[in-house]
């Protein structure tokens, strides 16, 4: 039933049912590859923004007709995986991945991924052009997302640290019928599968056989390592640059996570801009710290892989001492959210000169304070320190700023390092509520467009239409970030001011307070629940305090139910019962009064 829901978005393969034949044609030439196009687009657009000039709704809801367009120049071989594959040819024996005591060369990692891709193409030939990867910080995780790309799919990252109910919702929403699972995540698999009512093909590379799962879930198809195809049988799948590279879910204000559709073209443009600015080569050793469900991971994966660098992925335990991890692995590049700086400082890991191996330190995902940048630069004297900015909808990051010990304090606003200037191919505007440019020096909302502009929200044209708009004086569609910035004067770097709406950042995780509130209203059964970020930090908030509009509630029960539905970082740290939640004059909840209450208690 779910499949039917999504059938309008996705072309389901109906031909080539002979499983013994290669499932994907090799490279363009026979034209058949284009029968796999995810979207019906009459002429390939030069800029994804152009797709959206009035066509977006049509494009997303129109039934997809399998079509062959032999002349389509937009099809590109292997898409996002092409950089990795080129490095496999150039540096087959170089290290591609270090995972605790497991070290894999490019050739070895390609072999793992190719075997998974061949197996997916053999056992899961039908279904949408998306493969879910339920794995984290494991060989299966990295080989799994490469396998999805190798077979011409986009990947949907899932995370066992999230509540099973949330993972199930993502799986259902995406309509994925193929799933790759690692050992750690398998313990959550029964809970996740019990909520999925369409047949799944599940690959379990850590198991030799899967008889007990087959017996337990006859409706699903399980393939363990014994049933895998050989890497040799993988044939590269052609990919349209308008096909999805990944579908990443972020917090949605009305209670459901929303899936951001990022295309191959979007992410290739991002990688190109990153390589242009930061170089990277085969001597680099790069931290891959972020979970795959956080798009900052893309920066630490595909940029270094394109250049033949080695990724070093800490285990969940190694993450607790990031400084030790940098030293032990002689890292040249650090990529993380700025919160890690505070964390390391508290653990005594940020003493001046301590991280001399670092050449590049890239911070992204939340506001970078001047104090944190300063401490990092002192600890990593040979490193450039960069502040990158970008919402998921604009593909990981789309602006950068280089910290300078003398210049940055003069350019910062309220102790926050500027977000700088847009990537060369991206266009920024700072606008008022009617999408007109504000006067330089004034504060307005940042809107952006360019090759990294994503396609919008999966299966949700209403939300897409709300956030992706065309200003009255423009032919191009812009994404409205909801971030308030100060419009630069005379080429100054752009500075971040705050959020326009009720979105906050906790440790780089983007949280719509409205989503927390929707869950609270439902769980507690009240009409008003307010979530506020508290205590405030320079980069967002440390946690959430919830106000419930009632004088009685079983808070233990509320806590348990909330934990069942929301990820750890969205669960309120504290609940307060306030039967008369203050309302402002226009009848809206007065958050300022609630915040003032918390402020007064400090």
């Amino acid at each position: 039933m779910i499949l039917r829901l999504f059938a309008f978005v996705i072309y389901r393969r109906t031909e080539d049912s002979d499983l013994n034949r290669p499932q994907e044609p090799p490279w363009p030439g026979n034209g058949a590859h284009l029968s796999k196009r995810a979207f019906k687009i009459a002429a390939p657009p030069a800029d994804p923004a152009d797709i959206r000039s009035g066509e977006l709704e049509t494009m997303i809801v129109q039934p997809i007709v399998a079509q062959r367009c032999p002349g389509d120049a937009q099809a590109s071989w292997a898409g996002l995986a092409s950089g990795f594959l080129q490095s496999c040819d150039r540096f087959p024996d170089s290290r591609a991945l270090v995972l605790d005591d497991v070290v894999l060369s490019y050739a070895q990692l390609r072999e793992h991924a190719a075997a998974l891709a061949a197996t997916l193409m053999y056992h899961a030939a039908d279904g949408p052009l998306l493969t879910a990867v339920f794995a984290n910080r494991s060989l299966t995780a990295y080989a799994g997302l490469l396998a999805a790309l190798f077979r011409g799919h986009g990947y949907v990252p899932l995370n066992h640290k999230l509540p099973a109910a949330r993972t199930t919702a993502m799986l259902r929403q995406s309509g994925c019928t193929a799933l790759i699972v690692d050992q750690t995540s398998e313990s959550q698999l029964p809970d996740v599968l019990s909520g999925v009512d369409h047949a799944m093909t599940v690959l379990l590379p850590h198991r030799r056989e899967a008889q007990e799962l087959i017996d337990r879930w006859p409706a699903h198809h399980f393939v363990a390592a014994d049933g895998f195809r050989s890497a040799d049988s993988w044939e590269p799948a052609a990919v349209s640059s308008d096909a999805l590279a990944y579908l990443l879910f972020t917090s949605g204000s009305t209670g459901d996570p929303k899936g951001v559709m990022v295309t191959q073209r979007n992410v290739l443009a991002f990688v190109e801009a990153m390589v242009e600015r930061y170089g990277f080569d085969e001597s680099d050793r790069v931290a891959q710290v972020s979970d795959l469900t956080f798009d900052l991971s893309i920066m630490g994966l595909f940029v270094p892989w394109q250049q033949g660098a080695c990724l070093c992925c800490p285990t969940d335990r190694q993450v607790t001492k990031p400084g030790r991890f940098i030293t032990q692995n002689e890292l040249t590049t650090w990529i993380s959210v700025p919160s890690v700086i505070t964390f390391m400082k508290r653990l005594g890991e940020l003493k001046p000169g301590r991280h001399a191996t670092l050449r590049r330190s890239l911070f992204c995902g939340e506001a970078l304070s001047l104090e944190a940048a300063h401490a990092w630069q002192a600890a990593a004297p040979n490193s450039i320190v960069e502040n990158l900015y970008g919402p998921t909808e604009l593909t990981v990051a789309c602006s950068y700023y280089r910290y300078d010990v003398r210049q940055t304090p003069l350019e910062s606003l309220d102790g926050i390092v500027p977000i700088g200037e847009p990537f060369p191919k991206m266009t920024f505007r700072v606008v008022d509520d009617s999408l007109q440019d504000v006067v330089p020096g004034e504060t307005g909302e940042l809107i952006a467009t360019g090759p990294q502009l994503s396609l919008g929200y999966w299966g949700d044209s209403n939300r897409t239409a709300t956030a992706f708009l065309r200003p009255p004086d423009s032919e191009r569609t812009f994404y409205c970030t909801g971030d308030l910035v100060r419009s630069p004067i005379n080429g100054e770097p752009m500075t971040y001011v705050g959020r326009k709406d009720q979105q906050i950042k906790i440790l780089g995780y983007r949280i719509e307070l409205g989503e927390v509130e929707a869950v609270l209203r439902d769980v507690v059964g009240v009409s008003i629940a307010v979530a506020v970020g508290w205590p405030r930090t320079s980069s967002g908030a440390e946690g959430i305090v919830a106000f419930l509009g009632t004088d009685t509630a079983d808070l233990e029960d509320v806590e348990r139910k909330v934990r069942h539905r929301l990820p750890e970082y969205m669960v309120p740290r504290e609940y307060r019962l306030v039967p008369d939640i203050p309302l402002s004059t226009n009848g809206k909840v007065d958050r300022q009064v609630l915040l003032a209450t918390l402020e007064a208690e400090k």
Partner: protein, 92 residues
């Protein structure tokens, strides 16, 4: 500043985490020195900062955790001995 024994640190930590321990059905008596707060899910990596803050304010000293390995940071016995040693270092 008074000196701190690893026994005191242990008592303080078990008291601090009494609620999550109880939720997991772990009795305080059964907790050995080998107990790992991270592995057992009593704290997550983010909880480490809270733990550091709590230890420092309880024992009124600033502790430099740089020398403690990731494996030992949340390992009850190692952590308690480290805090005790830090106290002695500061006192001397």
């Amino acid at each position: 500043m008074a000196s701190v024994s690893s026994r005191q640190v242990r008592a303080f930590l078990l008291d601090t985490y009494a609620e999550p321990l109880a939720r997991k059905g772990i009795s305080i008596e059964s907790v050995t020195d080998d107990f790992d707060l991270l592995r057992e899910g009593i704290i997550d990596s983010l909880g480490i900062l809270d733990m550091v803050t709590a230890l420092e304010s309880q024992f009124e000293m600033s502790i430099d955790f740089e020398e403690l390995d990731a494996e030992k940071l949340t390992h009850l016995g190692s952590l308690c001995r480290y805090v005790e040693a830090s106290g002695k270092r500061l006192a001397s």
